[in-house]
Point group: C2
Chain length 461, copies 2
């Protein structure tokens, strides 16, 4: 309904009819998700945490459902009740991760095929990031139950705790603990950013979400696969007129922090040749990093630049700090861009006046991730059936997701659907009912396809 003209056209071309009534949401499974129920359920549960109204419609608000707040606890209790209605077994681990498990026909002890995402949001977040993935998973199970359909292997839902890291500052926090990348004591001790007396663990206890099950990929709740439906959070699908992104993996990225030191000086009395101007040098460095990234088809971005608070129009600052975020699907390219940037920065530091000095630290190093070929093939198959070969495209996730951590321990991939103008982490974040439904149908088709694939590999897979 609010899709851009290009997307609307793409949908018409690929889907032959509007599927606002779900008439054409038909894949190989023979099942059809209920688009209206999905939309209503998603927005009904947004009453817990809705905030930042920007329009008159009921759905025209953002969300402020920070992890383990009262509103987050309310939606958790609601989800627990819903999955139990469906006949699922619910497990909660020591990080409050919620695992709902629906038995398959094989009654296999093998780990379930999971559909996971998160119900927490940024303080000025939207109604789709994470929420869509969990609500879609629920709709998939509801559709299966409506149709008396059972997968071969067990199937289920995961709600990962504190994905956003907005209240307790560690993104993908609990999938990180599950994957063994974040020590549980460190995660438990995370402090509420506004109240250091409140810890993540104390909030788990307060809401009754400190489970006994270890939060561990091998000794805790194991997963046979992890599929995550998510809004793209970027403009690529919209700009290319595609409606499904088949996520091949996650970009590698490195975050560097630079400090450029010069000397404060009067702008009127100091010749250019006598200056040591760190803001001029930083400006040239930022421009150079963009040029280098462009040549490597990579991303280089500066989000933060600081000059001292006593800066004035007629004083050259003595010191400037800035961040540099370098990304590419290949780690080698990330490294190459970093190397070229450091070489350029060294030249720039000596370039103007009497030169500046700089040093830098590596703040974050997140290597590239390749998702599982079998999972990707299942999503490709689902997309081909639903939107045809021109309706989908391979994408690499630019942002971090719980799936990056699950991919370390089980076959994983993600499905992206367009969000309006690529906007996320903002109240106006928007994914149309059509795209929510399409993504959910693709999720259903993918897990059904993957379930068959697992069977084809033998019941021991």
């Amino acid at each position: 309904m609010q899709a851009t003209p290009r997307v609307a056209q793409a949908l018409r071309l690929n889907l032959a009819h509007s599927f606002s009534t779900c008439a054409r949401l038909q894949g190989a499974s023979g099942l059809k998700i209920n688009a209206d129920r999905l939309w209503e359920t998603l927005h009904e549960t947004c009453k817990w945490g809705e905030s930042h109204r920007y329009g008159e419609k009921t759905t025209e608000t953002g969300m402020a459902r920070l992890t383990l707040t009262d509103d987050d606890a309310r939606v958790r209790r609601w989800l627990a009740a819903e999955v139990e209605k469906l006949g699922c077994t619910l497990s909660v681990d020591q990080m409050g991760n919620m695992f709902a498990r629906q038995p398959g026909k094989l009654k296999s002890a093998k780990p379930m095929t999971a559909m996971g995402s998160h119900l927490d949001t940024q303080p000025r977040g939207g109604r789709y990031d994470g929420i869509l993935g969990v609500m879609a998973a629920l709709e998939v199970l509801r559709t299966m139950k409506d149709n008396g359909f059972s997968t071969n292997f067990d199937i289920g839902i995961v709600n990962w705790t504190n994905e956003e890291g907005a209240r307790f500052p560690k993104s993908m926090c609990s999938s990180g603990v599950w994957a063994g990348a974040v020590p549980i004591q460190k995660a438990w001790n995370l402090q509420d950013i506004h109240n250091p007396d409140v810890k993540l663990r104390s909030e788990l206890i307060r809401h009754g979400y400190l489970g006994e099950l270890p939060c561990d990929a091998t000794s805790g709740f194991r997963l046979g696969a992890h599929f995550e439906l998510h809004i793209e959070q970027g403009p690529i699908l919209t700009d290319s007129g595609r409606s499904i992104g088949i996520v091949q993996g996650a970009q590698g990225y490195r975050w560097l922090a630079f400090t450029i030191k010069g000397k404060d000086a009067h702008t009127g009395t100091t010749p250019l040749s006598a200056r040591q101007d760190p803001l001029l040098a930083a400006s040239r460095m930022i421009a150079a990093s963009n040029d280098i990234a462009t040549r490597h088809d990579a991303l280089a971005s500066t989000g933060i630049l600081k000059v001292p608070s006593n800066a004035s129009t007629n004083t050259i600052a003595s010191e400037v700090t800035f961040t540099l975020d370098i990304r590419h699907p290949l780690d080698d390219v990330v490294q190459a861009v970093q190397k070229k940037c450091l070489e350029a920065f060294t030249r720039i530091a000596a370039q103007d006046g009497k030169g500046v000095t700089f040093d830098w630290t590596l703040e974050t190093d997140s290597p590239a991730v390749r998702f599982d070929k079998g999972c990707i093939a299942s999503v490709q198959e689902a997309a081909d059936t639903l939107v045809g070969p021109n309706g989908s495209m391979p994408l690499t996730s630019g942002a971090g997701h719980d799936s990056v951590y699950t991919s370390k321990h089980c076959p994983t991939t993600m499905i992206f659907v367009p969000c309006k103008d690529g906007v996320s982490h903002h109240p106006t974040e928007y994914c149309s009912p059509e795209h929510c439904a399409l993504g959910t149908q693709a999720l259903l088709e993918s897990v059904v396809h993957y379930d068959s694939f697992r069977l084809s590999q033998g019941t021991e897979v």
Copy 2:
């Protein structure tokens, strides 16, 4: 004593002997200032306001003598007493400007030849900026009295109120009122930056410095000429091995404030081609402004750049603001640099991704000033006698001074002496005893020479 090797060498070459004993401070006047008395008086009076100690010596502190504070009032009362001891008449105008007048031989009613500067400092200022000019003027009058020397026309001292604009935010505030460039009500209503209840006028009253005399170049205390000795506040004299700067005028300058608007976006999910990155654009603009200024032999400087306070490493900012300070001795060049910058900025705004928009405002427009040829000739004559033709150089003032305003109404020039490393507006600001003495002797020679020049023009001049 703390002069750099190059300056020390220059002094040796030009002055034949060290003049730390003032043995060689001999110009055409036949008078010789007392360098020790000058140094001692200057630093003795810095007890009122000394702050920010940086070394062990008595003189190794900065100053925090903000205008019309108790310390400023103390040094004003001390100055009043000293000039009265010399036989001067003291006048105080409605802005608290202090005019000390010593009668000349002619008993002429013509306005006096003034030696002026200011006794107020920045909150983290030094012991020489402004203070040297007033103390040097006092030493000139003391030297004349010691020698029974009288000028033809009246001569005297001006202490201008609130030159720094650091407490009441208007630089060259009271010379500006005197020159008719700043309305007195506006100046009187200036608020203390830390306490809006305290106004400049209420502080004048509190200290007894709200005079009855109009603060006006024509209807108030008129000046026949204005000579100001000041530290250079830049590195040009030191770097060129000269010890006297003969100031030809003041640079024109324009202060522009730019706002660059883009769109916030995730650094990991937004391709470069889809971005509207205002920090990247601002960086390219700052770099371009420097390149343009270099080609025009002008100055272009950015002192302030701000990104929103919620900036993060992985978010492209939505808006960036920065300042641009363009300077050159010729207004035409200032205008040309501004024009070229705006043209370049327009190109840059469209250059990356989906482009950004920008607007700008002119915050300050200060046209170039040419000082008086007669005054300049007197300083040149003094310099040639004291340091020879290789010991001085013509300079253009890069900073604002009270002399810029006095030049609108009376023949004016300035004398610059080197300050260590070009540093000013900082506690470590330093002018050696030798340079303080040399500048003071040059001031004496200049006013005596100008006094003769006035006489040569007839007593009606």
